[in-house]
Symmetry: C2
Amino acid sequence: MNKSILITDVTLFTDPATPLLGNHWLLTQGNTIHSFGPMDTLPPQDDATLIDGKGKLLMPGLINGHNHCAMTLFRGLADDLELGEWLNDHIFPAEAAHVSPEMVYWCSKLAAAEMILSGTCTVADGYFHEEQTAQALLDTGMRAIPAQGIIDFPAPGVADPKNNIDAAEAFLSAWQDKNERIRPGIFAHSPYTCSPDTLQRAKKLAAKYQAPFFIHVAESRLEPELLMDPQGTSPIRHLAALDLLDANTILIHCVWLDEEDRKIIQESGAGVVVCPQSHFKLASGIARVTELEKLNIPVGLGTDGSASNNSLDLFREMDILSKGQKMCTLEATAMSAQNALASATEVNARILGFSRLGKIAPDYMADLILLDLNQPHLQPCYNGDLLVYSANGADVTDVIINGDVVLRERKFLSFDLKETMQQVRRLATTLNSSLS
Amino acid sequence: MNKSILITDVTLFTDPATPLLGNHWLLTQGNTIHSFGPMDTLPPQDDATLIDGKGKLLMPGLINGHNHCAMTLFRGLADDLELGEWLNDHIFPAEAAHVSPEMVYWCSKLAAAEMILSGTCTVADGYFHEEQTAQALLDTGMRAIPAQGIIDFPAPGVADPKNNIDAAEAFLSAWQDKNERIRPGIFAHSPYTCSPDTLQRAKKLAAKYQAPFFIHVAESRLEPELLMDPQGTSPIRHLAALDLLDANTILIHCVWLDEEDRKIIQESGAGVVVCPQSHFKLASGIARVTELEKLNIPVGLGTDGSASNNSLDLFREMDILSKGQKMCTLEATAMSAQNALASATEVNARILGFSRLGKIAPDYMADLILLDLNQPHLQPCYNGDLLVYSANGADVTDVIINGDVVLRERKFLSFDLKETMQQVRRLATTLNSSLS
């Protein structure tokens, strides 16, 4: 574990603001990046694990700002449906019947496999039986913020919503110091499924454990009408009135904001995570990210769960983030490739509270990915834009997380992928036969 | 060449309207599909090439309705720029200095490699020195409609625009009966770069050779102001006034249409090809495909060239086509995965004039692709929706075009990919050094 790794002769992408550096080496030490430089300064390293980077690009591991990992079981189960029908007739019944600790473990592990294979090293997750997701992500080698769901309805593992805060506290307390790669969080489902009192107690709990507080908000244009006991005329004003917004709050979605909402977010210091593919596919709309950027509100990127995307590939997500902003503003300069890359790396790191993550620099965490540039769709390679507009997750060959090689030439060193796929297929067969 | 191929034990996707068929076999004969059925009806085939389809999905090869293959050289050269600056300061100067017959050959071959590797068997192309693109596509094993560009400006290979029609006729005449996989066409650049007289002569030429007539139209909201000698108040009405619209006309882009434009297209029988990623990236806007569907106007799908996308992966394009329509209509039922799949297969076939292409049926052309389902992002596999919302081009393992295996386990049998990449890298190095 954590043997030094020396990557040689690689094209280096350190961060979005820096041009590509050809023919470089990089050395890790323990779980951090030690140093890097051009090949003519290659240091002698007799006892490091060597990785030949020739023809490859080395970049920071991507960070997924929002996921519901366990929902891989529902990928493709019900597409092209109106939101209410999708939720009420398909997703909620499937969850009620098929979410178990075992299901959450294996389906989260499958999500981790997909994420690692597409270059994601860190994920912020929100679901139920979250201890299973935490364990699955730990077992696969990922870095993660698993956040236990809180909702004022019966939920998997929390049959009586009266116990939702206690269940969340048990989770925080069990996982807060378990492993350096796992930092537990709180996921309050939304202001239309949690009462003001529940939201405030959830936020207080997060503060007590210095845990990040996630909440779905302003996803649908109908949400203002659905708020539980509204304390404001918009979902954001409702949360602000409840004193829920600060730098430890991460607002997921934010598709439907007005000018006042944006000002409130700006002043609060809260972060925003958008999930453009999910917003598109569920016909929620398009988050006006360029308007948030103007106010210097940090906007990170997430995939959302596999039931509403249906892909956990952040390369795809960066591409749509950028192109969507250009389309809706009719400005081709909007949301550059550089900004999209920042959203899925250093901005997500900042929002999620990681101080040394999301770029390649000495003493930063050694979360690194290699891509095979030697492919037709990545020719020519003039600059790093191709990571957004041309690359996809399948170009990733190797993944290092916290200084350990997790994926080598697309083979997992950290866990048994075949077993995971077999387990999920078995669960899907059960689900499918229950439908027919 | 054209030895029978027997694919066994495969999951079969015959066309978007039919559910997936598990454990099937399929047999080709010559350049067509002979028959298929469940494994318990497997016929004896001693002399066929055998392909084990276990764990794979077999579907019709995708059809790219619009590309500028040679522009792979300009991929990533200039991103995130306003359209005028992009064209006038980057693309046009690069084309003037770097487009040569040699460049068109190698860069088209690179495009073909990318397309085949992502499951595209047929492409409609439009550019200059089109005989080189035709030869490159022929050499790689693709099926294609290469269309010679016509424009009232000096162009690569046609220094004096007075010769643009003659050059196009020479191309049609040279390629019309050369090979069953290559059908030459005419590509009139646009109503803002071709005079009414040029457009009418180009259309007449296409009619003389029964060749498809392609034209860029209604791409930008500024286009009505840019028409050369306008004959109508919109680009579509301009083309209609010039009598250019009929079932052999393919209208590329159609982002900015009004109700009257749509009625005119509907009555003319012309086809439409949209390129959503290019429309997004260049900030052209979003083509309202659902409005065209209501009038039963056939809408096909294209990637556009690599300079404005920057990917030729039609799986990605289908995904954005579908999600974009849901987003802009705020209707999650809009542009289902099935419809997106039809756009890139049977609808494109119809628009481009192929009567037996775009689905799996006896006597249809044997253009077939296999995808590896045995991957985390394609689990579970409930139905064919995953081809749009979860798959990507890198999932393609094998490609058969016109009854010949062109790609086997992602290795080309038809040409030398390494040589092609080296040639394009050499051209890109020349281009890059001319910029610095």
